[in-house]
Amino acid sequence: MTTLTAEHLVKNYHLRRGLRGSTLRAVDDVSFTLEPGRTVALVGQSGSGKSTIAKLLLQLERPTAGRILVDGKPAQRRGGGLDRYRRTVQMVFQDPFASLNPYHTVEHHLERPIRLHHPKLSGDEVHRRVLHLLERVRLTPAENVAARRPHQLSGGQRQRVAIARALAPRPGVLIADEPVSMLDVSIRLGVLNLLATLQREEDLGVLYITHDLATARHFADEILVMYRGRIVERGDADEVILRPRHEYTKTLAAAAPNPERRLSELRGG
């Protein structure tokens, strides 16, 4: 059970052009709270700063200003405190073809985080946990899957391995950066459904980063719309999608594929 709060986060990047430099504000005064059992979706175009927020929350980047709070206390930035933070906040990456090492078996991928965060476990115990994780993401028979290498799995199966890996240290917060955008449309819902189920079972707080408004609406409780580093609209998922107020949200909603719209035209004509 972890509540993660971002308070007035700002991230500047310095761009150098010859001797001159300029500043790019990638994230501009962003605040939100990830509570156990709730999903917040972060939507916006490429380059709007969504992934920078993920990096800040994972402490892969230092915020220029603002702070991150874990259960009300400032997040630790080094040493054992950082280790504990990293155990609490885990990540699922976009590309399951690149995020798993082709040289290693599935078992190896899941074993590493378990051993890192629980160094005292015996080999037998670790193996049992690996199998249990695979069963939880419905990759059965687990023994068989554990021995495979990434190329012997489909994209959706690989993404489920990545989810199992993120769950291995028993985190309280999961950050999912476009977890289904590389997958076939027909299996996206299955992976999201699985993610929602695991979230309920573990009482996880989830940050779902995407540019797909339709899945954001169905998967998230709250939607934040980002444009050029700022949050331009936020609110209840249905509210934001069905009654968008900000111009940019309207643009996004209009750009999303919506067969109903075209087909009603076809019916009319």
């Binding site: 190329h151 489909s154 299955g190 459904n193």
Partner: protein, 311 residues
């Protein structure tokens, strides 16, 4: 399994065909042989957008590459042919062309926007040189001045500032690179363009711009498009007709409206049920209970450990 398909229901032909694919089959001659495309017959009419939908590994890209005969061994076309009907009424059977004729006909009559078009530009050659290359290869009679003028026009047509001709691919955004690829495919004003997942890597706003561009150019220039993607909602929006492919076969073919409102094949129904609606009822399919049926589509197969390794 390998027998001919019962003919899918088709609307009566309204305009003349520009490309006919008859009984087309492609095998990958590996052990065991993979039948990637099985007896596919399709007709592309002049000026229409034909959507080709299906999941990874269903053979849709193989079919596209097969049509323009770009397949490399171990892939082999084992039956069927693709016949191009030119505006002047000449029929070109792509199987009967020799290497030189193939080179000359490709891009001129049928061009392609490749999958991962973002990365199909040569990173060490400027945009101008890459566009000019099309003309030096296919229109050698053009002078340098004329070539350059045409390159500038092409970029303008797809909405990229002609000043960017001097740029290298890494200096352009993903959407712009995509536009350059489309400009290149249009260079010789082909009558058919095959687009293999042209917008997959782009975000929705840029994707929408590109789709508008394609539709506008289609209306302006009147070429026909084969649009390949796994994104069925997208296809429903832009296609006139849609063919749904599964395991190398076309399981259903129909115009967009009837495919959406009255799907015949179980697989089409499954595909249609697999994306949530943006504005419709808020379903419980994501946040409801665990639905094992959704993952059954992607279950681990024990008999074939290499399943799913195709692109």
């Amino acid at each position: 399994m390998n027998g001919p398909m019962p003919a899918p229901p088709v609307r009566p032909v309204v305009s003349a065909p520009v490309l006919t694919i008859e009984d087309f089959s492609v095998d990958y001659l590996v052990d065991p042989v993979v039948h990637a495309v099985k007896n596919v017959s399709l007709t592309l009419r002049r000026g229409e957008v034909l959507g080709l939908a299906g999941e990874s590994g269903c053979g849709k890209s193989t079919l596209a590459y097969g049509i323009v005969r770009l397949l490399k061994p171990p892939a082999a076309i084992v039956s069927g042919r693709a016949v191009f009907h030119s505006r002047e009424g000449i029929e070109i059977d792509w199987n009967l062309l020799d290497a030189e004729e193939l080179r000359a006909t490709r891009w001129d009559k049928i061009s392609m926007v490749f999958q991962g078009a973002m990365n199909s530009l040569n990173p060490v050659i400027s945009i101008r040189d890459q566009l000019e290359d099309v003309f030096t290869a296919h229109r050698p009679e053009l002078g340098r001045h004329e070539r350059r003028k045409r390159c500038a026009e092409l970029l303008e047509r797809v909405g990229v500032d002609p000043a960017r001709l001097r740029a290298y691919p890494h200096e352009l955004s993903g959407g712009m690179r995509q536009r350059v690829m489309i400009a290149m495919a249009m260079a010789l004003e082909p009558q058919v363009m095959i687009m293999d997942e042209p917008t997959t890597a782009l975000d929705v706003v840029v994707q929408r711009e590109i789709l508008r561009e394609i539709t506008r150019l289609r209306d302006e220039l009147g070429f026909a498009v084969v649009f390949i993607t796994h994104d069925l909602p997208l296809l429903l929006e832009i296609s006139d007709r849609i063919a749904v492919m599964r395991a190398g076969e076309v399981v259903e073919l129909g115009d967009a409206l009837s495919l959406y409102t009255d799907p015949q094949h179980d697989y089409t129904k499954q595909l249609l049920a697999s994306f949530p609606s943006l504005t419709g009822e808020r379903g419980s399919f994501v946040r409801g209970g665990m639905d094992e049926r959704l993952l059954a589509l992607d279950a681990v197969r024990l008999d074939d450990p290499n399943a799913g390794s195709t692109a």
